[in-house]
């Protein structure tokens, strides 16, 4: 089975998903996983697409079938091969890291630098800008061996430097 990463982004308008997924279906592509959202008025699609039927269909064929659509809708597209055996091993305990404060360049990179230095793995991250307020919320898996209080202390130091607030909480499981 061939797995492709497909990213498409462009000014939002009705019909982008229908056109892009329609083209992928035409060549027998299955959407294995996807994330689609509007970012600053641009519609962004990130897809993992599997091709299992026709050996003639590869990433070049997918690029070719997407080309007329991206041209007519004014979209930028990327198509690339990815490994079909990603490592799903859990790294540790889930935490939610919230950051908020006055907007300035470098907040995400500084905070994520601290998390990465502890081996923390970010599985999801959202940022919002609202007036002067910048908000970052990240789902982070922290290795079991990490002393969470040490990570907190490092993040507190980064927060003081950046003039923002940072909170680290254990992710609560869904309550059924």
């Amino acid at each position: 089975m061939t797995l492709l990463a497909v990213s498409v982004i462009g000014v939002d308008r009705p019909g982008i998903i229908a056109a892009v997924t329609g083209a992928l279906a035409q060549v027998g592509g299955n959407l294995e996983d996807s994330s689609m959202t509007i970012l600053g008025g641009h519609f962004a699609m990130s897809l993992i697409v599997s091709l299992d039927a026709d050996p003639q269909v590869d990433e070049h064929a997918v690029r070719a079938v997407l080309e007329p659509i991206t041209a007519s809708l004014g979209l930028a597209a990327f198509v690339g091969k990815v490994t079909d055996q990603p490592d799903h091993t859990s790294l540790g305990s889930p935490y939610v890291v919230s950051v908020h404060g006055a907007d300035r360049p470098g907040i995400v990179s500084r905070v994520m630098g601290v998390i990465a230095s502890y081996g923390g793995n970010v599985s999801d991250l959202t940022t919002r800008l609202s007036g002067d307020l910048y908000v970052v919320v990240a789902d982070v898996e922290v290795p079991l061996a990490v002393d969470i209080e040490a990570l907190r202390a490092s993040l507190d130091a980064a927060a003081d430097e950046l003039g923002v607030e940072i909170t680290v909480r254990a992710a609560e499981p869904d309550l059924l």
Binding site: S98, H100, D124, S130, G131, V164, E165, T167, D174, L175
Partner: protein, 166 residues
């Protein structure tokens, strides 16, 4: 007097507020201003002193007529309030006058016991609240601890731009 509501990232919203003397005339005035300001904002069901730029432990709330409210104590004004107990956490979406463009999913207790002092007399008063009123109590108590709902959102997919319609 109606006061201006302070917006994040104003730092007063992220600092723990300080206990007050409930008989202090300036505290009585602060409480009156909080109620006037809450009433002036349509849909506002609670306001804590840091939200009008005052780092003292006073808040007001009133969930009267709110469709999600079950318990309803009417107008509540408390100084130095504390959460005595809480049970049955539940995730729900909430917003804040100080973060006007965003909402978030936050786990809160469904039932709470909150104790504080009546502004003016200083008498101790305990409230038992559930559902939306319990959420409002916890949101206001958080403000007095320098905590915003942004600090408690359930995850990266639990924060939302408030919808605006053109």
């Amino acid at each position: 007097m109606i006061r201006a509501v302070v917006l994040a990232p104003e730092r007063v919203l992220s600092r723990p507020a300080l206990d007050v003397d409930p008989g202090d005339p300036t505290v009585v005035q602060l409480a009156a201003d909080l109620v006037d300001t809450m009433r002036a904002y349509p849909g506002c069901v609670g306001l804590a002193a840091p939200q009008i730029g005052d780092g003292r432990r006073v808040f007001c709330l009133d969930v009267t007529g709110h469709p999600k409210a079950k318990s309803c104590a009417g107008l509540v004004v408390l100084a130095n309030p504390v959460l005595v107990s809480g049970e049955a956490p539940k995730v729900g979406r909430e917003g804040c006058q100080s973060v006007p463009d965003l909402t978030g999913d936050v786990a809160r207790f469904r039932r709470v016991l909150v104790r504080g002092l009546v502004v003016g007399t200083g008498a101790e008063r305990t409230y038992e609240a559930d559902a939306f009123e319990a959420r409002a109590f916890q949101h206001e108590l958080d403000h007095l601890a320098g905590v915003l709902f942004l600090d408690r959102v359930a995850g990266a997919h639990a924060i939302f731009q408030r919808k605006t319609y053109r």
